[in-house]
Subunit: 258 residues, 2 copies
């Protein structure tokens, strides 16, 4: 039975001494951190707060005054149309944070909310500025992470514009495998994906019904297995081929791609 519990990731650091902190793991997949940098990040992300699914961390029109760092669970950026249609524009997974440049723009033009139960750390503006000023290694890694976020957003545009329903879903699953793995939240054969088909629909620009049909198809083809909020990737090679998945845009430098 696949391990869906988060406790898996809270165990003591593994034998090789690597951290289990998703932010540290993610940044280290992009750049090299000094021991001191790691210590600072470790300290900042202590004592996360638990947030239920479906709660906005930041809403449209807000003037945000801090940054939220996701330590566990899944949140998303989204907007609502007047007719109630929702479009999700990004997934925030462990190690992701929202709006480092929060101080620069006046108002949020979209919302950020939880899709599943999350553990979240709120970091205030002063701490962010301190971090960026006095820890150039961290600042550099955060900057890289922002660039990867942008590249990911571009890839989503391609997904919505030029891929079929099964391709869209397959591509998303391949992307999440690598991103979650970089954050230490995915096993080799799959990962917890505690979101509803409805969320998936609002991500891929489809309807819930069609997402479920497509998901069933992918299972029938032996590519994946989804149950209990856990996604097992049964045939990664074929899934990636179907999605035409090219991981370069994540700029993981081969560190977690294998």
């Amino acid at each position: 039975m696949p391990q869906a519990s988060d406790d898996l990731y809270k165990a003591a650091p593994p034998g090789d001494g690597r951290s289990t902190n998703p932010l540290i793991l993610k940044l280290e997949s992009l750049a090299t951190l000094a021991d001191e940098d790691r210590a600072v990040l470790e300290q900042i992300s202590a004592n996360p707060q638990v947030i239920e699914p479906g709660i906005d961390l930041i809403s449209v029109g807000d003037k945000p005054d801090g940054v939220y760092l996701i330590m566990d669970g899944i949140a998303c950026r989204y907007t609502l149309r007047a007719n109630g249609a929702r479009q999700i524009m990004a997934y925030l997974i462990p190690g992701d944070y929202c709006d480092l440049d929060v101080a620069l723009l006046a108002r949020m033009d979209h919302s950020i909310g939880t899709l599943a139960t999350c553990k979240v750390v709120r970091i205030d503006l002063a701490t962010i500025l301190e971090l960026l000023r006095h820890h150039p290694g961290i600042a550099h890694a955060l900057r890289l992470a922002t660039l990867v976020d942008e590249a990911t957003l571009r890839e989503w545009v391609v997904n919505l514009g030029r891929r079929s329903a099964p391709e869209r879903i397959a591509h998303l699953m391949c992307e999440l495998l690598l991103r979650l793995r970089a954050a230490g939240h995915a096993a080799d054969e799959g990962y917890p994906l505690p979101i509803t088909p409805n969320d998936l629909a609002d991500t891929t620009g489809l309807t819930t019904v069609h997402v479920n049909r497509t998901l069933a198809d992918l299972q029938r083809q032996g590519l994946i297995a989804m149950s209990g909020g856990y996604l097992r990737i049964l045939d990664r090679a074929r899934l990636e081929a179907l999605a035409e998945f090219r991981p370069e845009y994540l700029h993981l430098g081969g560190r977690v791609a294998a």
Copy 2:
């Protein structure tokens, strides 16, 4: 007859003393520049080079070593799928530039090419760094511009994911009106749009045929008129209503929105 020629914009500065430099105009719609900042930008963007349509400024896999600033015309970010399908992920209009953070990431994960004849200035890395270091006002404005680019990308995700064909096209046209106006390249009633229906199709995730049909529909409804590479917006209120256009994401602060 609407004025499609670029020469319109190269005339001597208007009576109010404002520049006609698209980069300066764009940045001033986001922040306040000092006279000295303006002078530096004016100097940097002198002597643009003419590039024919359909030419890559930067190609996938390149390790870029400079920044391209668009002074006139339209370029785009795009990728190609294995089957030849193209998805355009951003329009670069006058005042836009590519990849300020060029030095940070190893390789381009997409290409940048011209859609129409462009006037382009290449700025080398040293100049960029000098600019960012010694002109904090410019650095700040450029940073804001980058955030707006990201917000625009998110809006494109919404466009592709949750809007119908006519809505997508209408939304794009509304967006370009404001962006071009901020760069001093649009009149009140329309602007030069020297791109093909095929380009529009690869932008909106549709086929060329369907774009042409939809375009014809929009004309029949009296919303727009397109001819000779010039787009006239005949009924802006209805066009914006159709697209459900909310300009906040462009963060123009009311300066050019009216």
